[in-house]
Every structure is written in C-alpha cells, then in structure tokens.
Amino acid sequence: MTAHYQLDDDGVVVIIGSGAGGGTLANELAQKGIDVVLLEAGPHLTADDFVNDEWGGYEMLSWLDKRTSSGNWRVAKDHPTAPSWSCKVVGGTTVHWSACCYRLIEDEMRARTVYGDVPGASLIDWPITLADLEPYYDKAEAKMGVTRTHGLPALPPNNNFKVMYAGAKALGYDSVSTGRHAINSVPYDGRPATIEDGFTITGDKVGSRWSTLNVEIPRGLATGKLELRAECCAVQIEHDAAGKASAVVYVDAGGMTRRQKARAVVLAGNCVESSRLLLYSTSALFPNGLANGWGHVGRHYLRHIIQTVWSIFDKPVNMHRGEIMIGMLDEFAHHDPSRGFAGGYYVELNSMGLPTTAAFLDPGWWGRDFASVMEQYANMAGIFMSGEDMPQPDNRITLTDDVDTYGVPVANIHYDEHDNDLKMRSHGYKTLSGIHKAAGAKRSIEAPAYPASHNLGSNRMSARAEDGVLDGHGRAHEVANLFVCDGSQFATGGACNPTLTIVALAIRQADFIAKEMAGGAL
C-alpha cells in the first residue's frame, strides 16, 4: 500500500515541508489520487518519543540550524542566532503549536484600501477575498476539529482564563471567551479529549490536538499515493529550459545528495526556509533566485505584533495547569483609526512553565528584582496578543556568506519596527496590563517578543506580478508549476494566529492543482 516513487519519476508533485501547509496539502492531493513525494528535513517521531519537559521538548523538536538576524527588533539582541521559532520534524510546527484557530476578517484582506497609504509600509490588498476563503475555512475547521465550530463544544475555562475573564468583564470587554482551538474538548475524529496536561507544545503525547503528524500525514499515507521521505532536506529547486520547475535536489538521511524529478514543486518550509530556497535556486534564467524577477522574494517579511504580559497576584493561579492559550477577546481586532494606528490585534492567553517563563520574561534581566518575580511563579498569570505588523520592503530574508552543513547559505532575517508597530505594541501592553490589573494584579511585567513564531509574507501573493511573488492560488507569477503553501504567501499579515488560514489556503490550493492537472495545464 505504501507509495514508492522513483527519483526520475517526473509525474509526482514534490512538496518541501510537512507542517501545517505541506502536510495538509500532501493529504489533500493524495486523497484526490495525485502522486505526491513529501520531503521533510526532520525525523519522524511518534507520541511515544515526546516528553513533558519544556527544554527537552524544545531541543527535540525545534529547527536549530543557524540563522542570523539584524535590525532594531529586540529579537536580534535577545536571540541573535535563533530569530524565528519553528520545528524540524515530520508535522512541522503543528507538532508544537498551541492551536488557536481564528479567521482573517474582510478588512484585513483589503489592507491597502482600508488602511490607506501608511508611509513606509508596502501594504497591498490580497488578490483573493474573504468570500473566496470562507468555504475553505469551513473545511479546515471541520478537519481540525476547532472548538465552537461545527457544533463542537468550547474548551473549559482554566485558572489562567479565570483571571483574564474577571479582568475583561470588569472592563466591559464582553467578547471574552475561551476562544476557538484545534484541541478536542470532547473526543472527535478518532482523537481523545484533552486531559489538560499543559504540554501540547512539546509534542502532545495525548493527541487531542490536531497536527499534520497525527491526522493529515497518516491519512495521506493510507491512500497509497503519498510517499513521505523524512530526514531529507531540500537544498535547491531546478528548472528546465522552458523555465518550469523540473526537480528538487535534496540531501537524504545518509548524507547522499539526490535529485527528485517533479511535475510540480511546492515550497512549505515555514516562510524563512521557503524564501531561502528560492533565493539560493539561481540560474541564468533566474539570476536573483527562482521566481524572483520582481525582486520580492524574501521581502515584506512579517512576524506579527506578539507579546505577553506576566502579572503577579496575591493568590495562586497555577497557570501551567491546562491548555495554554484558551482565552480570546476581539474588542481590538478591527481596524479603528481613532486608536492612532492601522490594523488590529487579538487578546489571547499565554502560559509557560517555570523554565521558559524565566527565559522569556525579559532576557538579560538578573538580580533581586528578577529573582523575586520568579519566586512568585505560582501566583503568576499570562496574557498575550497577536496583532498585525506593517509590511516593509527592507524587512527581509537574505542569504549570508556563512553556509550550513549542506553548503546552503545561512539566512539572515532583518526586521525594523515600523512606527505603527510600536504604537500597537504600546497600546497592547496597556490593554493586557489593564485586564490583569482589573483582576487584581499586584505587578505586571511587559515581556518582549520572543523569536518569531508567526513567519509570514516573504513570498507574498499579489494581483499584479510586479507587487509580489505568487498569484492568488499561491502559484509563482513567473513559474507555472511552482507553488508556495506556507505563511510566506500571505499578502499581508492580518492580526490573528495564521495557521487556520495556512490550512484553508492549502485545501484551496489542492483543489486548484487538481483542476489544473485534470485540465492538462499542469
């Protein structure tokens, strides 16, 4: 039953990366009877391998290959060689994520029109509308088992949420709820309900959370159409004389360099890696990198306005117990120029164990004050935001002179904060601290952003070829059989956590690829 394709089989769709985008697309295509080779740089782990341990899990799952960073973002100082945060395992970062699932709203998909001309920002409108995406959001929510959709019950409030709820209600933020998550509150789709263990982010041993590791990939493999090649790292994409993608060069688990021929190639390596591969795939026809004729590959990189406030209360909270991010209010989600900045943000929950709270509270902070805050860990609550950052052409992924173990140049991520970003950060910190204060906080600490967990925009889709890299189906403007299926295709970032949209776009892209193939165009 297991599929096995020859290296010179040029009838296969080759997908690079098995996370939210690539893993979903692989299954969707295989379900339609399309032959797929899925290359994944990381190992194929199982629930048994995972540990309930913050650093143990981090070291087991994370993408630790070197990167560098520059720009005035705090991340470049705090995490100079690990500026973005993702995983290198079968299932990608869906093995780690905390599964908040929110939809983009209509205004966000027309950001240039609605926000107007924001100086210094390279805003565009999406080439597709919310109406184009809605049927796919429905499908994504159903496949992921998102709470409060399709009749699935909400996740129950935990201790950290009780704090958020009390503060939000006191301030009249009546939208506050436990939010929507791809984590089972009741058994669903063969997966159990959560046991509130608090360790979804180290792999989720219980399996109550959707991931491509536990849902999409096994189902794709069962069709006999999908071949998964773990520990196979793509290093370059080749094209034929006509300028169509023809093969992917990769290094396998044994260190051998292989060349898999392809009918179509899809990049789904989590933004930074997808741009890095395109930039490195140069040729006489594409001297600046594949699909980079307009120079947008790597540019307009986004990472959301993400930050946490940690507050100390008189009495115990025990925030580490239970699911991590189950709280949301959307009073600030809509664009409202009276706030003095463009775009919106969602208020959500965050909790961490003692080890990572200490590491992320304020990297570099030491002494009596720091220690006294840590001693009150049991009485600490966390509250978080995800908001829209402004695209800027010079916030970008570039190749450095340093090379990795495969000989591929190490990526640098450059990010300068836009004034709009800083205004939103300040507004957001006030909102987050205000909610905790209204619930009785003695002290709040504004923690800086941790390494970028929402990596977006660096191969963006655009209506006009000169404004981006991809069309509205995630297909390269310049290479008809080359696609991108990760967050780098976002035209703008929107405010909410991106993964539901990545999955919806993958399902939509699968329909498009199948249609093009059936019509003989691909």
Binding site: E54, N158, N159, K162, F199, P316, N318, R321, L354
Partner: protein
Amino acid sequence: MAIAHKDPKLPPPEPIPEGPEWIEELGPFASVGETLAVLARTLCPHDSLPERCYRRVVRAQDRIAAETQALGVTVRDFCALLDSRMPLPFAELSESYRVNILKTLENEPAFIFLQRSTVRFLYDDVEVWEAFGYEGASVHLGGYIHRGFDDLDWLPNPPSGD
C-alpha cells in the same frame, strides 16, 4: 511547596556532592567553580535555595564548556577579571559589590553566556520547581484535568462554555 515531576522518560537528576569535593568533578571550570557558584547566586539570588541548586548550574555550564574549548578560556578570563576589580576575590565580596562589578560587564560575551545559562539551568531544576510551585510533567499522572486545572477559587467562575 509543590510536588514536582520530571518526565519519567528523561534521566533523573544526578546528585551533586554536598561537600567541597563537588569542585573536583568539574572539568574546564574546576579552577573557577566557587566563583561561578557565587556568580549564579548573584544573578538569581534566592535566599531559600540551597547551595546545591547553584552548583548544579555550574556543573551544567562546565559540561557546555567541555565541548567548546574557547568558551572555557573566555569564562576563566572573565572570572580573573571579576577577581581583579576589588582587593578581595569576587566570591568573598558582599552582594552589593558583586552586583556593581557585574553591572559594568553586562555586554561581555562571557557575562551573556553565564547569565543566560544560569537562567536556563537554575529554573530547569526539579528542586527549584518545587520551591516556586511549578509541578512539571503531567501526562503520566493523567494531566491536570482532575488535579486542579480550574481550581482557582478567589475569582468568580466564568459561565461554563465560556
């Protein structure tokens, strides 16, 4: 004080000698073990924590240095610098003098390594988890669903389903 659990799949914490012989088990940092333990306590001063918690930090730092030779040299040079600032060695200074010295050295690569790694290892220690109320691994105990994930009782309960 909480009861904390390390994931049973991971190796249990290794004991560390209570006497001065803990230093003898060190590699590249054998000559500066005492200084580094005092440094760790100065960076993260918890009066309630016993000396062994800080010694375990130094042991973990020593193991990193054993794999990167240059780091050992940088850190030993840094310790010599700490000792040269006052008429007494760093480890014998009172806290305010130690703090003042460190404040002038925050941008040194050795300081950055030592500060980050102290935070990395001190708060990843089961004894420290118990002291500050972090309970650790939970799946092997059935999660927290019947062990207090929603036991906060000093605020009103949200309506269920919210």
